[in-house]
Symmetry: C2
Subunit: 198 residues, 2 copies
């Protein structure tokens, strides 16, 4: 009743299940036994054999997150205008963080904001991913200055930080129980700060 060749086991589906658990419980609140149970893996050794240790699994899960539930982030940058990109990003966040098919909030924010010394690596990985998102937004806004969509005196770095702050605040609000409609309204208010050509 044991063993055999690789059963072409669907590791993507398993990662999706692991994502749900990490998303809901955070890195430190998730035990290996929680993961094996959720992933349909019977024993811890099988999990370690397939995905490495907890940190490595978490990293793979974050990749899967970016390609799945958070794909809207990358897609937002494809909008023709920078303003459209920011709107797609933030309204997408309002939807994604309240999707009834997933835990509330954003794993990148709530996965490991504060944690014990033993989880610093996970925390730093999340910090880096958040910084990467902000940097991508800044790049898009810089381009908008070049194309004159934004005035020459606009501050792309400052605006990127502001809208990233909105994004992260939305994640906290969602984790606290805010409704989807309330979050969309927050986005509308936030967009008020968009620079007008004086």
């Amino acid at each position: 009743m044991a063993g055999g060749r690789p059963r072409t086991f669907d590791s993507e589906a398993a990662l999706d299940r692991a994502l749900e658990v990490f998303w809901r419980q955070g890195y430190e609140g998730t035990a290996i036994s929680d993961l094996t149970k959720a992933m349909g893996i019977n024993n811890a050794p099988s999990l370690y054999n397939a995905f490495g240790n907890k940190e490595q699994l978490f990293s793979k899960v974050l990749d899967r997150y970016a390609d799945g539930p958070a794909r809207y982030i990358r897609e937002a940058f494809d909008q023709p205008t920078a303003r459209g990109a920011v709107e797609a990003l933030l309204h997408g966040a309002a939807d994604a963080t309240t999707d009834p098919d997933h835990p509330r909030g954003c794993i990148t924010v709530q996965g490991a904001l504060a944690c014990s010394p033993g989880a610093q690596t996970a925390r730093e990985e999340l910090t880096a991913r958040r910084a990467a998102g902000e940097a991508g937004l800044r790049a898009r806004l810089e381009r908008a200055v070049d194309t004159k969509e934004l005035p020459a005196d606009a501050d792309p770095a400052g605006l990127a930080r502001y809208f990233t702050t909105i994004y992260q605040g939305i994640a906290v609000q969602a984790a606290g129980g805010a409704t989807r409609e309330q979050l969309h309204q927050i986005v509308d208010t936030a967009m008020t700060a968009w620079p007008s050509r004086a």
Copy 2:
């Protein structure tokens, strides 16, 4: 070398030490042994005797937080104008979340955003405290409508959610390493959304 009457042990100072640990490591990332070490208590039983269990200690720590490092929040509401109150609140957050004498961020946000089922009580307590802060802000903004500082068609509840979102986003930004100056700039941008008397 053991025992004795109550040594009028300074429990406030001990709570301040516990606050530092919970603040930096979160509820679930903090072990009782971390707390006893930081608080200058030799044994776990002494801690339980003095402060109850972990949840109760956490709650006491949050009270101490509200009266100490986060006192600026209550004080912000004393500003003569609602706009002044919001500015005091958010600029105060920019300072407090980057105070070199304390861990970065806000314990109310990063204490237990996502956690295991065993820490739900702590999570719910933080959620409630965040909601209470938002409710206080809403009340202040409703008063501003009454006094005509805000236009009659302003939405106090929506504005309170927006500025609370900024507040919480600032906490995440601070935890991620943003500088104090960057946070103050975010606040300035956020205040752009303040309703103007059309």
